[in-house]
């Protein structure tokens, strides 16, 4: 009698553990999706800032039309990107173009002093940080999911939980993998 109870208890515990490990995989997969949505939100935010930035800079630095055009082109590319790879590549180019423009603005003291630009500057630096933290959060979640998929015992449930190893969000520019730049 007591043997039966012991076996039953063991079966129940194993079943509970199995459910737990499988649910962890499903949750890790959902976290990656949510983190991806956060990247999209932040990229959209940044994208929406650019027309305003372009208008502001144009007024003071008409000579920099090349830099401005590069920025507008990079923005267009990023809005049409759909896959993870495309988005990351376009994100990298847009980040570069923005840095190029901000570097150029150093030569225009009138522009730097304008109230419009000052307000934009805080908005741009917080947006850059947010984009960068969203990428980092996504990659952290991908790392957790991929670790769970690759390690026992959660690896048993990969099929039943319908999860697969996800790709990291890698921006081409290696600088972007580093600490977000803080400007003030």
């Amino acid at each position: 009698m007591s043997v039966v109870i012991l076996i039953l208890a063991a079966v129940v515990i194993i079943a509970l553990l199995a459910v737990m490990f499988r649910n962890n995989l499903v949750k890790a997969n959902i976290s990656v999706d949510e983190a991806w949505a956060q990247i999209e939100v932040q990229l959209k935010r940044r994208s929406d800032l650019i027309p305003n930035l372009v208008e502001t800079v144009k007024g003071y630095a008409a000579h920099e039309s090349g830099t401005l055009e590069a920025l507008v082109a990079a923005r267009a590319k990023s809005t049409s990107a759909s896959t993870l790879g495309e988005t990351a590549a376009a994100d990298g180019q847009l980040t570069q173009a923005l840095r190029g423009l901000l570097a150029v603005t150093e030569n225009y003291p009138d522009l730097k002093a304008s109230t419009n630009f000052l307000a934009l500057q805080e908005e741009l630096s917080t947006t850059e940080n947010k984009v960068s933290f969203a990428r980092q959060f996504y990659n952290d979640n991908v790392r957790k999911l991929n670790t769970a998929i690759g390690t026992f015992p959660s690896s048993i449930f990969v099929g039943s939980a319908k999860v697969a190893v996800r790709a990291f969000y890698e921006v081409e520019n290696p600088q972007d993998r580093e600490v977000p730049q803080v400007k003030f």
Partner: protein
């Protein structure tokens, strides 16, 4: 040093300390049984109940209580855009909802976070800290505070406080009963008591509150070290928090509210003006925290 290793090391250490609390509790129950027999055990649920009641309320309403106690004023995005941006940036890195943000009118640089969970969290800064720190340093401070929210440190300290409180009550009851005729009861209940066990249980009852207090403070210090490591996991920038702590180290002004009750929630202990002994401090020494962050700067 790697922040992931530091995070798990500090998590394990604080779990061990909480386990130590549980062992201490069982020792006290054993001592009660030995000294008073089954009569003494009736007091345990009573003491735990009182401790739970007193701690649970302040845990549940921690955000509103602390805001009132410190006189913090809630702000919105338009009051301080940069501060709001800073906090929401770290929230993205941490995957947390944006908490309530508050400002304490105080020239001493300091900050805290509390709240029973991430949906009831509040993060507060003194006006002093906003003046003396640049954006990167404030980012480090914000990350440290939100690390407390992410690590559920209000809950951890509530558990530690409940156990320590229950132990203090138990020992207090028992010592009173002993002095007011507990001896008679002991003799009538048991006539074959082992004298060594009696002395040991008496010692346990007397020393338990002190041991519980030391454990509670040790847990608080480990959670602070953990929050520093988690903050680096959020920002990937140990130097921001390191420089912020150096600013706090150089600064000699201390928050006016020197209430013991909420000393543990500030980023820098407001009580450490004098040289308090390490064992009795809620925070690890700033110099040690700075050294750990410096060691992380090379690797992360």
């Amino acid at each position: 040093m790697d922040f992931r290793k530091l995070q798990s090391a500090n998590k394990i250490k604080s779990a061990q300390l909480l386990f130590g609390m549980a062992i201490l509790m069982s020792l006290v129950v054993w001592a009660l049984l030995t000294y008073f027999g089954n009569v003494g055990i009736g007091v345990v649920p009573f003491a735990v109940g009182i401790a739970l009641l007193s701690v649970w309320g302040s845990y549940w309403a921690s955000d509103t209580i602390v805001l009132t106690m410190t006189g913090a004023r809630l702000i919105t995005e338009s009051d301080n855009k940069q501060l709001y941006d800073l906090v929401s940036e770290i929230c993205i890195a941490a995957g947390l909802p944006v908490p309530k943000i508050a400002i304490v009118e105080d020239s001493a640089p300091n900050a805290f976070a509390t709240g029973r969970n991430q949906d009831h969290a509040v993060i507060a800064f003194t006006t002093g800290i906003l003046q003396v720190m640049d954006r990167e340093e404030l980012q480090g401070v914000t990350a440290h505070e939100l690390a407390h929210v992410a690590n559920r440190d209000t809950l951890v300290s509530a558990i530690a406080a409940t156990t320590a409180g229950a132990l203090a009550l138990l020992s207090d009851f028992m010592i009173r009963i002993m002095f007011f005729g507990g001896g008679n009861r002991r003799n009538s209940n048991d006539n074959n008591q082992n004298p060594i066990a009696l002395i040991a249980s008496l010692l346990i009852l007397i020393l338990a509150p002190l041991a519980a207090l030391l454990l509670r403070l040790a847990i608080s210090r480990k959670r602070e070290a953990l929050a520093d490591a988690t903050a680096v996991a959020f920002t990937r920038n140990p130097s921001g928090l390191r420089r912020a702590l150096e600013v706090l180290d150089r600064d000699s002004t201390v928050v006016h509210q020197r209430s013991n009750a909420i000393a543990h929630i500030w980023i820098e202990s407001p009580l450490d003006g004098s040289k308090t002994s390490r064992l009795f401090s809620t925070h690890p020494p700033l110099s040690e925290r700075i050294a750990t962050l410096k060691a992380m700067e090379g690797t992360s």
